[in-house]
Symmetry: C2
Subunit: 699 residues, 2 copies
C-alpha cells in the first residue's frame, strides 16, 4: 500500500478544571470536565449552540468497583491528525481523515485503576472511547454495563427502530424523541426473531433533526470484542444512555487490559449532506490489516434468490420444510426446488451474456427442510449439495463462461455449528474457485442464550471476516450485527445486510417509500449494504393474483438505488426473465459501476430524498441516483461535477408523468441527451420514485 | 467386522394392569404399571426382595404439557436378545450381551403424543430409557426436566461425590444415604471449577451396599445428545430423582423426534464382582460405527507432565502465568519450561529404550502464560509451538526412534475456541504423524454459562471423538463429562479422565487409599480411565522438603493399578529419572499389557479391595493386580485361571513387610516363582498397598 502523508502535532497540557477542544473547522466544540466527585463528563456544541448537554461517562464492572467516579486527571495529550487513506473499495479513492484529538489519562485513586478517555473532534462530529491501559490493578475484567450518556437538548425529530438484541430489520419510525415507544410499532412486520430490550430502547445509528435544523446522528465505530450499543431514552428529558447487549448470563463484555471500547460518535451539522457523506465511522477503524488485497474485487451479481421470496420456488429440495421426512430417508423432491443444476446454468448464461461478475445460489445444500424456527444446532454442514445440484458441473460451467459462483452459507443462527464447519466450508470454496460467500443468520443464536448483537456474536462476525481473509475470500453477511467500519480493516468484509432489506417487500408489510432515504443516514454509515435492489416486477400479484404485497417503489427508483445505496457488491435481485422483459431499463443495471473514484451528495434530507452522483474508478463515467419518499419531487441538478469542456451522453431513466409507486410503478421513460459541466437537469420523481442517469463522455 | 451370532425372540402381548419381566438368570425382576392417573411406574426386585420401590417415570417439556401422566399402554413388545460382540480394545475379546427386553408403547390421550419406555433386564441389572418416536404432535421439543425416580428401600452404605455440573474430580465419601450432605465435604480439595447443584445432589454412578449385602449401582449409558444425569436425594425417604444438568438459560435438552434418552441403569447383585466386571454400560451403547479400526491401537506412554505437577518445571514458557507479558512481546523464557526440544528427546530416548509406544508433551504450545482461571476465550490455537519446542525436529527424532508423539490440546474450557481450531489442530497432527491426543478442559466453559456436563458439552465431547475418527486419530479427554460407553461406538475415544486422577496427590489433599478401590465400581463402568499411575517417588518432600503432599499408596500398589484400572492407554506417569532408580520395579510397567483377551475379577469390595487378573490379547501372559484401602490385607488367590498343565514363571511385586502408604511407601519385594493352574498364592498387602504379578508361560 502506498504511504500517505501523515501529519501529527502533539502537545501536552496541564489539566484545568475544564477543557475545550474544537474541530479544525471551529464549528464543533467539545468540553470535558470532572464533576466534584470525580465523574468524567463531556458536552458538545455546534456553531456555539449546545448540542449535547453535560453527560457523564463511566463503566461498571462485575464483582469489582465501578469505573465511574473518584477520578482525577493525571495527564493529557492533544494532537492534530491528518491521515488520508485509500480504501480498497469505496465511495472515494481517497478518504480524508482530519481531526483534533485529546486524551485524558484518569486515575481512580481508591482502586489505583487507570482509564483513558480519548476524544477525536472531526469537522462533522465528535468521537470518544474508553481505553483500559495495561496496569497491575486491572487485568481480566468483566463489563457489567456502560454508562455513557448523550443528553440531548430538545425534542428532536427522530428516525428510530426498536433496540432489539437480535434484529435491525425494522422499518424506521419518524417521531419526536418524546414519542418514542417501541410498544406502539407494528410487530407483524415479518421479522423472525425479535428481542426488544425495552419500551424506550432504540438502536444506533439514531438519526435526528432539531427544530433549529441541526442534524444529529449518534452511532459507534470499531465495535470489536465488545457488544453492540443500543440506547435507552428518558423520553421527557431527551437523555440517552448506552445499553450494551448482554450475553447468555447477563454479562456485557469480557476484556483484558490493554483494551479499548468502541468509539461513541456524535455527528452534527446543519447540512444533512455532511452526515450522509461522512466517512467518520470508517476513519475510526484500524487501517487495513491485509498485505495483499489484489483479490478483493467489486461484484455485480444475479442469483437464485428472489424466486424463493416470491414463492416461485423453494430453498429446500423436499419442499416440506420438515426434516423428519429427511431423517428416515424418505425425502422426496417437490419439483419446486430453485437451486438445481439446470436453473443455475440458466443464471450463469444470463450473467455471462450481460456482463455480471457472479451468480449467487441459495438453497444448494442439504438442511433447508427444517432450517427455520427450530433452534436446531446441526442444521447445515455447508459442504453437502442437494442431489439435484452438481457442484462440479456448475462450477466448471461457470468457469467456461467467465462467471464466478457466489457461495451461500445460511447458518440458521447456529453459529457453533458454522464455526465447527468453517474451515471445511472454505476449503470447498477454494476447491471450486468461489471468490465470495453470502452468509445468513436467520434464527435464534446457538450458543443458546446469546444474541445477534452480543460480544460473542460481534466476535464471530469479525472472526469470520478474518478467517475468510486467510483463504483470500470475500464475505457478505446477512442478519449480522450492523457494521461499524470493520470493512476498513478487513476489506474482504465486502458487504452486509444488517438492516431491513428489499426482500421484506415480497412477503410482509414491506419497506415504506421513505426507507431507502433513511438507510444512508443510518445503516450505511457503518459500511456497504447488500440491499438487493433492482426489482422490476414490483407487485407480487404478478406471481399470484391473491397477493397484495409489493415493493414500495417505482421501477426507476430501483435503478437509482444502485447509486444511492453504496455497495461494492450489488445484486440485480429480480428474476432474470423479468429483466429480459425490460431490456431498456435493465441497461442501467448493466452499465452502473460498483466501485468509485469519487462521490458527491448533491441533495439530502433523511426520510425525504437523496441525490448522489458518483464517478467510476478507472473510468470517466458518472452515475446519478435520485430518490424520493412517498411524495413526488421536482428538482434541478447542476452538472458541475462533470469534467469541464467535455461532452457527455446522459441516459436518463426516470418515472413517467403518471408513475406512482402504488398505482403505476413500472411506468418509466428513458431519454438520451448531451450535456456538459455547465448543464442543468430537471428531475421529476414520482411518488415513491427515482431517477437514474448514466453520463458517458463522448470522444 | 466379523458377523456375530444374533438371537432375538420377539413376541407381542396385551397389557395387563401390571407386567413383569425377569432376567435370564431369574434373579432380577422388573415390574411396570401405570398408576390410576396414567403415570408410568416401575419397581425392581433382586432374588425376590424389592430393590427399587415403585418409582415414577416422566419428562417435563418447555412451553408444552409434560409427558408425565395421562398415559395408556397402546402396545408392548417383548424380546430376548443375545448379541455378543468383539470390542476393538477391551478387557475381553468377546463381550456377552444377553437380556430380556420389553417396550411399552404409551399414548397420552389429551395431547395425542406418544412415548415408549424400553426396559432391558440383564443378569446384573435393569436398564430403561425413554423413546420419543416420530409423530405428528411432537417434532422439536425442549426437555425442561426429567422426573425419573429411583426409590431405594433402605439406608444403604453409599460411595458418593457431590452432584457438580462442572467436575467429578472429588474423592469419594462413604456414608449412609441419610448422611449425604454436600455441604459437609472438604471444599479445599484442589478442584478448579466447582458448581455443586445442591445439598443432597450426588453424581452417578452411585455405588451402594444394603444392610443385606446387596450391591446396588445407579448410573446411565449412552449419554448422547442429552445432558448428564445427577441424582437428587430425599435423605430420609431414600428416594433419588434424576437431575439433568442445565444449559446457560436453564433448559436441559433440545431434541427432535425420533429421539431417545440415555439408558438409566440399576445394577444389583449380592456379589460385588458382578458389578465391577459388568459390561452393561458398554452393551447399552450403539455398536462401533467405524468400518476401519485398524488404526486404533493400545498405547503405553511416558511424558512431560508429572514434572509440572511436582513443580520441577512449568507448562508455560515465560513462567509468569501472566499473558500481559506476552501481549507486548516481552515474554521471556523462565528457564523452567518443561516442553523443550531437548527434554522431549530425552523422553523419546527413554521410551525407545524401554519399549513404550508414545511420549506425551504438555505445555508445548503458546498460551499457557494465562490459561488458568481467566475464562479467556482465545487462549490456545493448538498449532503454534513455543520457541523452544521444535515440532519438526521432535517428530522426526521420534520417528527415527520408532516412538509416537502424543499431542496435547488443553482447551482451558474454551470449547468454542477449540472447535474453531479443531480441523487445523488435527491437520497438524496428521502432518507430523501424531496418532493420538490428550485433551484438557480445566476452567469454566465457553460458551459462557454452559457447564461441563450439559447437553452442549456432552455433544462436544462426542463430536470431538467423531471428528478425530474422521482423521483416524485417537482421543483421550481430561476434565470431560464422564463416559457412558461411547467408546463402544467410537473406539478411538480411547480413554478419558473424568474423575479424580493421580495428579491430585501431587498438590492437594489428594486421593485417599480407598480411592482406587471405588473407581472401578463407578467411573470405570463407563469406559477406560487415564488415571496416570506408576508414581515411584511417592512423597513430594522428595522435590521440596517443605512439601507434605504424597500419593496415598505404596510403590507396589502403583504397579497393581496397571491391572486394576483398565485402560488401553496407560501412562507411566513418573519422571523417567525416577524409573531409572528402580529398574526392578519398573520392569512390571514395561511388561504389563494394555489390551486383553480376558479379565477376571477374583475379589472385590468397593472401598476396601480389588483383585483382578487379565490375560493379554495375542499372547499367553497373565497379569494380576491386587489393591487394598488404608487397611493391610492378606488373601490367598487360586491360580485356576491359568491354562492347565502349563508352567508359568510368576514375578511377584509386593509390599515389603514394613511397607505402609504413609510411613514407608517405597518398600517393596520382588520374587520369582514357578506356578501352575493348581497353585495358590498368598498375597500380603500393606496399608494402602498392593501386589502386581506377571505370569509368563515357561516353554
Amino acid at each position: 500500500m502506498k504511504k500517505l502523508h501523515y501529519l501529527v502535532i502533539i502537545f501536552f497540557a496541564t489539566f484545568a478544571n475544564a477543557q475545550n477542544v474544537q474541530s479544525l473547522s471551529k464549528n464543533i466544540s467539545l468540553d470535558f470536565k470532572l464533576s466534584s466527585d470525580g465523574k468524567p463528563t463531556y458536552s458538545v456544541s455546534y456553531k456555539s449552540k449546545i448540542c449535547i448537554n453535560e453527560s457523564t461517562l463511566g463503566i461498571t464492572l462485575k464483582d469489582i468497583p465501578a469505573l465511574e467516579s473518584g477520578f482525577s486527571v493525571i495527564n493529557q495529550e492533544i494532537k492534530t491528525v491528518d491521515q488520508p487513506w485509500h480504501p480498497v473499495l469505496g465511495e472515494q479513492s481517497t478518504i480524508e481523515n482530519k481531526y483534533n484529538q485529546i486524551t485524558y489519562f484518569l486515575l481512580q485513586k481508591e482502586t489505583g485503576r487507570k482509564i483513558n478517555i480519548v476524544f477525536k473532534v472531526y469537522n462533522e462530529g465528535v468521537a470518544f472511547r474508553y481505553e483500559f491501559p495495561k496496569q497491575e490493578n486491572l487485568n481480566y475484567f468483566i463489563i457489567s454495563d456502560e454508562k455513557t450518556q448523550f443528553n440531548l437538548v430538545g425534542n428532536h425529530k427522530t428516525f428510530w427502530i426498536p433496540g432489539d438484541f437480535d434484529s435491525q430489520e425494522y422499518a424506521y419510525n419518524e417521531t419526536l424523541l418524546s414519542e418514542i415507544n417501541t410498544e406502539n410499532i407494528n410487530k407483524n412486520n415479518g421479522i423472525g426473531v425479535k428481542s426488544i430490550a425495552g419500551k424506550y430502547t432504540v438502536q444506533a445509528p439514531l438519526m435526528m433533526k432539531s427544530n433549529e435544523g441541526i442534524y444529529i446522528n449518534i452511532f459507534e465505530a470499531a465495535v470489536v470484542n465488545y457488544p453492540v450499543m443500543h440506547l435507552d431514552l428518558i423520553p421527557n428529558q431527551y437523555k440517552l444512555t448506552s445499553h450494551l447487549v448482554p450475553n447468555a448470563i447477563g454479562d456485557k463484555a469480557y476484556l483484558q487490559t490493554p483494551a479499548v471500547s468502541p468509539w461513541r460518535t456524535i455527528m452534527m451539522s446543519d447540512d444533512a449532506r455532511d452526515i450522509v457523506g461522512s466517512k467518520m465511522i470508517l476513519n475510526l477503524n484500524e487501517p487495513c490489516k491485509l498485505d495483499d488485497t489484489s483479490w478483493i474485487k467489486p461484484m455485480k451479481y444475479v442469483g437464485i434468490w428472489w424466486e424463493m421470496h416470491v414463492g416461485k420456488s423453494t430453498w429446500d429440495y423436499a419442499g416440506s420444510q420438515n426434516a423428519q421426512n429427511a431423517a428416515d430417508g424418505t425425502m422426496k423432491p417437490s419439483g419446486k426446488h430453485g437451486a438445481t443444476t439446470e436453473n443455475t446454468k440458466r443464471y450463469i448464461d444470463f450473467a455471462a451474456k450481460n456482463g455480471f461478475d457472479g451468480v449467487l445460489v441459495e438453497g444448494w445444500n442439504v438442511g433447508w427442510e427444517d432450517w427455520f424456527g427450530n433452534w436446531k444446532e446441526d442444521v447445515f454442514d455447508f459442504t453437502t449439495p442437494y442431489p439435484d445440484y452438481n457442484l462440479k458441473e456448475i462450477n466448471d460451467y461457470a468457469k467456461s463462461k467467465g462467471v464466478k459462483m457466489i457461495m451461500h452459507h445460511e447458518t440458521s443462527g447456529s453459529v457453533a455449528n458454522y464455526e465447527r464447519h468453517l474451515d471445511r466450508a472454505l476449503n470447498l470454496m477454494k476447491e471450486y474457485g468461489y471468490p465470495a460467500a453470502k452468509s445468513g443468520y436467520v434464527g435464534k443464536i446457538i450458543p443458546r442464550g446469546e444474541f445477534h448483537d452480543g460480544q460473542t456474536m460481534v466476535n464471530h462476525f469479525n472472526f469470520v471476516a478474518r478467517r475468510f481473509a486467510d483463504y483470500k475470500l470475500m464475505i457478505n453477511s446477512h442478519e449480522s450485527s450492523r457494521p461499524t467500519g470493520y470493512s476498513r480493516t478487513y476489506p474482504n468484509y465486502i458487504a452486509a445486510e444488517a438492516a431491513r432489506g428489499n426482500e421484506f417487500n415480497a412477503w410482509s408489510i414491506g419497506n415504506p417509500p421513505m426507507h431507502e432515504t433513511i438507510l444512508p443516514f443510518t445503516r450505511l454509515l457503518g459500511g456497504p449494504m447488500d440491499y438487493t435492489p433492482g426489482i422490476f416486477e414490483i407487485k407480487m400479484s404478478y406471481y399470484d393474483p391473491k397477493k397484495t404485497e409489493q415493493v414500495h417503489t417505482t421501477l426507476a427508483k430501483q435503478l437509482a438505488l444502485y447509486v444511492t445505496m453504496y455497495s461494492p457488491l450489488q445484486m440485480a435481485a429480480d428474476l432474470i426473465e423479468n429483466y429480459e422483459k425490460y431490456p431498456d431499463a435493465f441497461q442501467f443495471i448493466k452499465d452502473v459501476a460498483v466501485d468509485w473514484q469519487d462521490s458527491k451528495y448533491l441533495e439530502a434530507e433523511p426520510g425525504d430524498y437523496l441525490t448522489v452522483v458518483r464517478k467510476e474508478k478507472n473510468g470517466e463515467r458518472w452515475f446519478l441516483g435520485a430518490i424520493t419518499d412517498e411524495n413526488a419531487r421536482t428538482t434541478e441538478i447542476k452538472l458541475d461535477f462533470l469534467t469541464p469542456n467535455k461532452k457527455y451522453q446522459a441516459i436518463i431513466y426516470q418515472d413517467s408523468t403518471t408513475a406512482h409507486w402504488k398505482n403505476n410503478p413500472i411506468s418509466y421513460v428513458i431519454k438520451t441527451i448531451q450535456v456538459t459541466s455547465k448543464s442543468k437537469i430537471k428531475l421529476n420523481l414520482a411518488n415513491g420514485g427515482g431517477t437514474a442517469i448514466s453520463f458517458k463522455p463522448i470522444n
